[in-house]
């Protein structure tokens, strides 16, 4: 029987949350800057 994969889901969740936070916050900061240029 093949060995069970290691349990490390917390790291995966952290990486997905951090990536979403970086990309979304940069996008929103640009949207706000774009609005202030009007």
């Amino acid at each position: 029987m093949p060995p069970e994969p290691p349990v490390n889901g917390g790291y995966m969740i952290a990486a997905y949350v951090v990536t979403g936070a970086i990309l979304l916050s940069y996008f929103l900061s640009l949207v706000r800057k774009g609005r202030s240029e009007k």
């Binding site: 790291y11 990486a15 970086i22 800057k33 240029e37």
Partner: protein
């Protein structure tokens, strides 16, 4: 073509570019949300690394987008030194800033993956160290831009730094072949066929496509903001 032949920045054009950039970025972010679902729900778990391997579907596309962004900064900087077209300088500034955002994703997801797999957050091997240098070089690029007020001097100085940054990109990619390094070797961008099962390769390709679309959207949005700022400056000066 000389700078004199380029139309002056107009607010209408800037606002249209901002709207276009916002729409493309929003579409790409929705696509990345879809990638999350695809990676977490419909892509098999790697047997040896466990679910932490799924960080790869964000880390690799972020690295691709960052290296693409920095390479384009170098290419358009070379063209700027030749043509003196302010649109090239504006594009280089936008691409450098967006590239830094993707590099930040790459440099945070990498250590989060490394901790459970290598047992350490960071190691000073060639790939990681060169990537960090590249990141700092483009932080310096943006600092230089904000320190020089004359538009032509700023464009000329930063073009030279942008070209230097581009020269580092092939070393980053090839560092896993040139030096002894812990970092895994390329599994898609290599001379032989990709060494991944189809379900994993599909998720990686969709993610890379969405990250590239996000790069296009964010650069367009950032370019429009730069254009609007210049149009306003010229309007105020007139």
């Amino acid at each position: 073509m000389t700078a004199a032949a380029v139309p002056p920045p107009s607010l209408e054009r800037a606002h249209a570019t901002i709207r276009r950039g916002r729409a493309i970025s929003a579409l790409a972010l929705l696509g990345i949300a879809g990638v999350y679902v695809l990676a977490l729900g419909y892509t098999p778990i790697e047997a040896r690394q466990g679910v932490a391997q799924k960080i790869f579907y964000l880390h690799v596309p972020a690295a691709w987008s960052a290296l693409l962004a920095f390479s384009l900064v170098g290419i358009v900087s070379l063209l700027y030194l030749w043509l003196h077209d302010p649109r090239l300088d504006r594009f280089a500034a936008s691409s450098a800033e967006v590239g830094l955002v993707f590099a930040a994703v790459m440099l945070t997801t990498g250590p989060i993956w490394a901790k459970p797999i290598w047992g350490t957050w960071w190691t000073w091997d060639a790939r990681l160290t060169l990537t960090l240098f590249l990141f700092f070089l483009f932080v310096g690029y943006l600092a230089l831009r904000s320190a020089v007020h004359d538009r032509h001097e700023r464009a000329r100085f930063s073009a030279v730094v942008g070209i230097m940054g581009m020269l580092l990109v092939p070393f980053v990619h090839l560092s896993v072949y040139l030096f002894r390094t812990l970092h895994p070797q390329p599994i898609v961008l290599k001379p032989s066929a990709p060494s991944l099962p189809w379900e994993m390769l599909r998720t990686l390709l969709v993610s890379t496509l969405m990250f590239t679309l996000l790069y296009v959207g964010l650069v367009t949005l950032r370019y429009g903001i730069g254009l609007a700022a210049e149009a306003r400056e010229e309007h105020d000066a007139a």
